[in-house]
Amino acid sequence: MPVLNWVRRHLVVFAGVAALAYMTIPNVIVLIFSFNQPKGRFNYSWNHFSLDAWKNPCGVGDMCDSVSLSLQIAVLATLGATVLGTMVAFALGRYRFRGRGPVTGLIWLPMAMPEIVMGASLGTLFLNMRIQFGFLTILIAHIMFCLSFVVTAVKARVMSMDPRLEQAAQDLYATPWSTFWRITFPIAAPGIAAGALLSFAISIDDFIITQFNAGPATVTFPMFVWGAAQKGLPVQVNVIGTLMFVAAVLCVVVGQLLSRRRKAHS
């Protein structure tokens, strides 16, 4: 039976496609239900088609304020974590020094810790120090847990770098400073970009650590959704979710096209 054989040979592909469907269906549901006009306060079952939410995405409470707060925190946390993380990654990737083991452990540990443990303990510290919970405490927490991811992403790139390139630059009388900016940094840039992107994605979507370190006036978008899930879920939440998804896909597609064009050029 050729058909049966074909099916057997592609069994793994079928399983893969099924897995992909499992991962994608919730996003499709979010998209479809952004056009819903729910009967009650919750947007869980289909009533009838409406464009209301898309026409007025900021129509509910302070949802858009929370989106803007999340964006601000994500941008600042990304900046902070990328700068600090890149420095650590260079130290680990390029130098031999005493205390390397403990430093590597300290970088690895936050990634091996459930968020609730980090969130609760940092919250306890702020509480005991009588530090006001708010924008700053959230930002501090976000930089803390994004840092390790940046270090991991950048270190991989730095370590795979050919040291002879810098050596060549120095042989050609480049100063250390111009060697760094014209050779080292451009080579490390994709790793830095990957670390920054990852930070942004983790920060903007973080809920658990944020919940333990936010003040009553600083409601990030995930916190808004959490609160809404208890008392009534506006359709606009789905609009924002869909927009985030579209923006992310656009970023990836544009990035792919740019890098393809650059490759075609060189």
Binding site: V13, A19, R94, T124, L233
Partner: protein
């Protein structure tokens, strides 16, 4: 190679030539200056809070009178006795979700690495992109998918699958929502990308000619997988299972949104002790025990799996 002053850490130990005097000292200090801000940040906002939490867990007092360290270890014992079921449930749910993630994620990672051809990048984007819609919104979408009058539940009911799952004790009353099945399903869904990406990156490195070689030596496809592909992908399996199990065991979102009070995990307890009941010593003790349990499980697991190239 004499001018090679900055050997990458992975390179064989080549002793850099020592420039004389102050310049050398300055060079030796460079890595420490680079490390200083980042490491300080982690020490102050990650390591110190852990110590602080340990101290909080042995304090007694109240919000009004303040807390004192009284070495009140009974908090641990009381908390454990009261919430041991929650620990067990968390570890079981997280364990099942991890196994399911591996079972679901491996075929997908394999497909992307070996079968996708020019679709590879598109598939990778499809794995990562859903991530960008807030995970809370996506988890809430499961409430729609698994709704009592929805397609999924109706079909499962018609096929009498719900009877089977009910007799296993993972669903009840012809519902899926508010049962262990829904919570595990949500956990699996939420952490699947953390499994797929490390699996993919370890599979992608495998030279396809290894498969051909195994075939030339008359290995059947499954034998090739068992003897060649899977062992090489083991570091990815270990990394993926850790990245899934650790966050899943501390999660409280899925139990809260998709479960009922009888599916609550230890995360739910810690969260309510900390944010609602304001019983900080108990919250600290509970989260400390969770951390200890995870560290023990992870280190035993890493030793058994025998991979040290995780970092």
């Amino acid at each position: 190679m004499a001018a090679l002053s900055t050997a990458p850490a992975g390179a064989p130990a080549e002793v850099p030539p020592v420039p004389p005097g102050a310049a050398a000292r300055r060079r030796r200090l460079v890595p420490y200056w680079l490390l200083l801000p980042g490491i300080l940040w982690l020490l102050v906002f990650f390591a110190a809070p852990m110590v602080y939490q340990a101290s909080t867990s042995v304090q007694t007092g109240s919000l009004e009178t303040g807390y004192q360290v009284t070495w009140h270890f009974a908090t641990y014992w009381d908390a454990f006795r009261e919430y041991d079921v929650f620990y067990l449930r968390s570890l079981i749910y997280a364990g099942i979700a991890t196994v399911l993630c591996l079972a679901i994620g491996y075929p997908l990672a394999y497909t992307i690495a070996f079968k996708a051809g020019r679709w590879r990048n598109v598939l990778l984007v499809m794995v990562i992109a859903p991530f960008f819609t807030s995970f809370l919104i996506r988890t809430l979408a499961w409430k729609t998918i698994l709704a009592d009058d929805g397609y999924v539940v109706t079909v499962l009911d018609k096929l009498h699958i719900l009877n089977v799952t009910a007799s296993l004790g993972i669903t009840a009353d012809d519902r899926v929502l508010a049962t262990p099945l829904a919570v595990v399903c949500g956990l699996t869904y939420n952490f699947l990308p953390f499994m797929i990406l490390p699996l993919y990156s370890s599979l992608e490195r495998i030279d396809p000619r290894l498969h051909e070689a195994a075939g030339d030596l008359y290995a059947r496809p499954f034998t090739t997988f068992r003897k060649v592909t899977f062992p090489i992908s083991l570091p990815g399996v270990v990394a993926g299972t850790l990245l899934t199990f650790i966050p899943a065991s501390g999660d409280y979102i899925n139990a809260e949104l998709l479960g009922s009070p009888s599916e609550q995990m230890i995360g739910n307890v810690i969260q309510s002790k900390f944010l609602t009941v304001l019983d900080y010593p108990t919250a600290a003790a509970l989260s400390f025990m969770l951390m200890a349990a995870i560290l023990v499980i992870v280190s035993v697991y890493i030793r058994k799996a025998g991979t040290e190239e995780l970092v």
